[in-house]
Amino acid sequence: MSAPGKVGFSKAVYTRPRSLVDVKSHFCPGCHHGTIHKIVAECIDRYGLREKTIGVACVGCSVFLYDYIDVDVVESPHGRAPAVATGVKRAQPDKFVFTYQGDGDLAAIGTSEIIHAANRGENLSVIFVNNTTYGMTGGQMAPTTMLGQKTSTTPYGRDFRGDGYPIRMAELLAGLEGTAYSARVAVSTPAQIRKAKESVRKAFEMQIGGMGFSIVEFLSTCPTNWGMKPLDAQKRVLGEMSEYFPPGVFKERKQADFA
């Protein structure tokens, strides 16, 4: 796309992904949803999936998926996205189906739906955004809230006596036979973003290849509800969050069980 008479700009090396809607982000400064949306959009583009994709939005800040990703999206009740996605995929097995869920959605109210979708080996992909809090409702304790973390419903800090422990979903789901791919990534540095994109590619490839259920857990920020500056929030992800929730690949199926 070169202007007449101009040289040196003949090839675009970096553009907005086709599948990302060209609108201003409404998310808070330092929030990772925008970064994660972009990774998802880039991977949809990479495999030419845009026109055959149905996304499933859940409840929480993540619901606004449909304002940002340029694909068909159905909205699910809180936590039920894997069941809704199952219904979409069973009705249209030739389509590409993914859910986009927060930690309250996936790891608290939706535990039954996520575990059984994984256990059935549903051939769909899950993008799981773990920011250790309920962002949209104002920063209450999530199932992933760290021990000692102060939230609006753990004003004295999360205490395992009574509140239980932060739950590691990527590891838990990797333990199920139906899971083809389970990984945890972070997006607080450029290197991490590259690695995260690799994981989402793998997850999407699992579905494209009919290998079964795939999930990528993103360690994400919520500076507003953490009461932190955006940069401090990145440090928290790189520090205590990554220690308790280690990034890594916990399951990667090499051969399809379901072929």
């Binding site: 909205e75 009705a91 039954s112 739906e113 059984h116």
Partner: protein
């Protein structure tokens, strides 16, 4: 397995639950999700046996909560989808039903109802009337509710439920009970008319060659949710106006008119025949649609008879709707039999009493 599709106008001897399956398959339903609960297990068992051979999907979900959301996904894909359950399971589906009503998604839900509240029992009951016709879940919506009273209607009303659900883009519920579900009788498997199938230009199929599309119930901007509520209201008003159905049974010259639905209506027919033999002018108005309720018919009928005898297998739910339809409250009598079938003898006795006669 032999193909289950019902051939034209064939007489089939089967039970009500199986007639529902035959009606669903004839109407093109190829997706069924469900969770076991008595007394409707013959429905998922039939679908598990027959849908795969038809290229469809049977999936036993982890719960009724998952069931209704799988239905939401399949419905958003533009496909006909059904589940069946009973009271406690239908309670768990209320969240999803509210979302489907809000998202304007069609589906057919069968409630072969049992006794409640709570775990209650497995005896037939009409205790789920309020839950079925008043919305059930949060936010203010209606389901289209059909009440079959025979195996024949279990078949035909299932086909109708799919058509109405698609036409109005809203879930439709079939309210049966253990008796209409389990009883066997011959019915005519009339062919489904594909001309009655509505187009679904709103379905999510991937945005090839068009703008992307959403199916959702969240409306945050300005007064969007108010506008949406009025839109739904207008739809329900249109349904009230155009879809109310009722059977008039021996109402010619009737002075005592029973108002009953489902199994209670079926039993009442016998009692009415006996009463007529005794010279008592009894008849019945049988609502076939519970929402929309045939209110106009009740209003007119109340003006011409001495007594409206409402009979229900509960302690009095539809009777409240009957009262709403007529100012002549002193003409309304009620016979309730919670969690059990009233016998024709019991009904005849009440008819005699109301007619001022001794048995």
């Amino acid at each position: 397995m032999s193909a289950p599709a019902a051939s034209p106008a064939k007489r089939i001897l089967t039970k009500g639950n199986e007639a529902i399956c035959l009606g669903a398959v004839a109407a093109g339903c190829r997706h069924y999700y469900g969770y076991p609960i008595t007394p409707q297990n013959d429905i998922p068992e039939y679908m598990a046996a027959h849908l795969p051979a038809l290229g469809g999907t049977f999936l036993q979900a982890e719960s009724e909560v998952a069931t209704i959301n799988m239905m939401l996904g399949t419905s958003a894909s533009g496909k006909r989808v059904m589940t069946s359950s009973s009271g406690p399971g239908i309670s768990l589906m209320q969240e999803g039903l509210s979302y489907m009503a809000g998202s304007e998604l069609p589906a057919v839900i069968v409630n072969i109802s049992r006794s409640g509240p709570g775990l209650g029992g497995i005896a037939p009951s009409q205790g789920d009337y309020f839950q079925a016709v008043k919305g059930g879940g949060h936010g203010g919506y209606r389901l289209i509710v059909l009440a079959p009273h025979s195996v024949q209607e279990m078949y035909t009303l299932t086909m109708l439920a799919f058509d109405l659900a698609d036409k109005y883009r809203t879930p439709a519920l079939i309210l049966g009970d253990a008796i209409v579900g389990q009883m066997k009788e011959p019915f005519v498997a009339s062919p489904y008319d594909p001309a009655s199938t509505a187009e679904k230009p709103w379905a999510l199929t991937g945005c090839a060659g068009r703008e992307r599309r959403n199916v959702k119930s969240l409306h945050l901007k300005d007064n969007a949710i108010e506008v949406h509520n009025w839109k739904l209201h207008e739809k329900y008003e249109r349904i009230r106006k155009e879809e109310a159905r009722a059977e008039s049974y021996m109402l010619d010259g009737a002075t005592i008119a029973i108002v009953a639905f489902g199994t209670a209506a079926r039993v009442s027919k016998t009692a009415i025949q006996w009463a007529r033999k005794e010279g008592i002018a009894a008849g019945m108005l049988r609502p076939i649609t519970l929402f929309p309720f045939p209110g106009r018919e009740v209003f007119e009928l109340a003006r011409t008879v001495d007594v409206l005898l409402v009979i229900e297998m509960n302690t009095g739910q539809m009777v409240e709707d009957v009262r709403q339809c007529t100012p002549l409250h002193d003409r309304i009598a009620f016979l309730g039999k919670p969690c059990a079938m009233p016998t024709p003898e019991e009904i005849l006795e009440r008819i005699r009493l109301l007619a001022g006669r001794k048995g």
